[in-house]
Symmetry: C2
Subunit: 168 residues, 2 copies
DNA sequence: TTAAATTTTCAGTAAATATTGAAAATTAGA
DNA sequence: TCTAATTTTCAATATTTACTGAAAATTTAA
């Protein structure tokens, strides 16, 4: 496989994989492109390379900046904005994990808490099962969340990190 | 919040959450319904409760059976098939993790391996960066996959599991 | 076997999501 | 200041994905 072909295939596949994980294809592809490109790119570079519109390129870049896995770079004597990707795999994987935790775990916790708090004592078998499952899900989700916090944010994360690497 | 309201909200939210994780909404909702229902349900029960078509209900159930987080149950003297969900949260979370690992990690590994194997020595700076990133991604993905295997399948999983719970 | 009950499939349609492109807003050099 | 370069927004459109419902296939009891 020659380089241009390999590059295209990588970007394409990364996009597809992104979709399966609930990440927009263009966003995943912009990340892929920046990831394998040594020098910073402008919006126009990205548009041209991926054959996407200015609007799409702009929104994708914004999202990646929000997630903290792409950085702005200014180039002396050029008014355009340049972008580079965070190249350390573990770093960006953890960042994405953390963002997704905030966006997706917290709403579940809110829901479960709300249901658990405002409910009257369960009467029927059906209601009992419901309460039980809500309680278990709550415990589970908390454990996951706490684990994520430790891993992503706390000083203990380092140790846990080492343990994980030991096993992996 | 009264029970029917809480139930509906739970199912609704679970569906939305599923979408964000790349899981079809109906599938997530069927799981949610079965999860909080003590007795086995038929396809018709599910259709009625979630207001979805027979086709949709059938496909969703099949998918959940494939993932191994919903089981068939036969009821004496009834020709219909009944379904129950795996109720142990950790159990089904790990099962889903394992399935997704197979479906999503392996293709990446295949791609990375293919690129890494069939490439000529990198010449330009661009090609060198590409090679480097592919190599790093490969290492990372392997670590993740191996970790997942340990956690999901191997006897070492138990130990790792305990460590994780300790931290969480 | 036969036929009613049940499950599965899938073409057509609906709904959700992503993308475009041009206008509006912003920025920064002259 | 003004204005050209650049970025951002967003209504319109395209694309993808999900869902329906009825026909076909399968199953099982008699």
């Amino acid at each position: 496989m020659r380089y241009p072909e390999a590059k295209e295939k990588f970007i394409e596949t990364w996009g597809t994989l992104g979709s399966q994980w609930g990440v927009n294809k263009s966003i995943a592809q912009v990340q892929a492109l920046l990831l394998i490109t040594p020098e910073p790119l402008t919006t126009d570079d990205i548009m041209k390379e991926l054959k996407i519109s200015r609007g799409n390129a702009n929104m994708s870049i914004r999202q990646l900046l929000d997630w903290g896995i792409v950085y702005k770079r200014s180039v002396a004597g050029d008014r355009k904005e340049y972008f580079v990707a965070e190249k350390d795999v573990w770093k960006w994987a953890l960042k994405i994990g953390n963002v997704r935790k905030q966006r997706e775990l917290n709403p579940v916790l809110d829901l479960l808490r709300e249901i658990a708090e405002n409910k009257e004592p369960a009467k029927t078998q059906e209601e009992k099962e419901f309460s039980k499952q809500i309680k278990e899900l709550n415990a589970f989700t908390r454990q996951l969340g706490s684990l994520a916090d430790k891993l992503f944010l706390s000083p203990k994360g380092e140790m846990l990190f080492k343990i994980l690497k030991m096993f992996a």
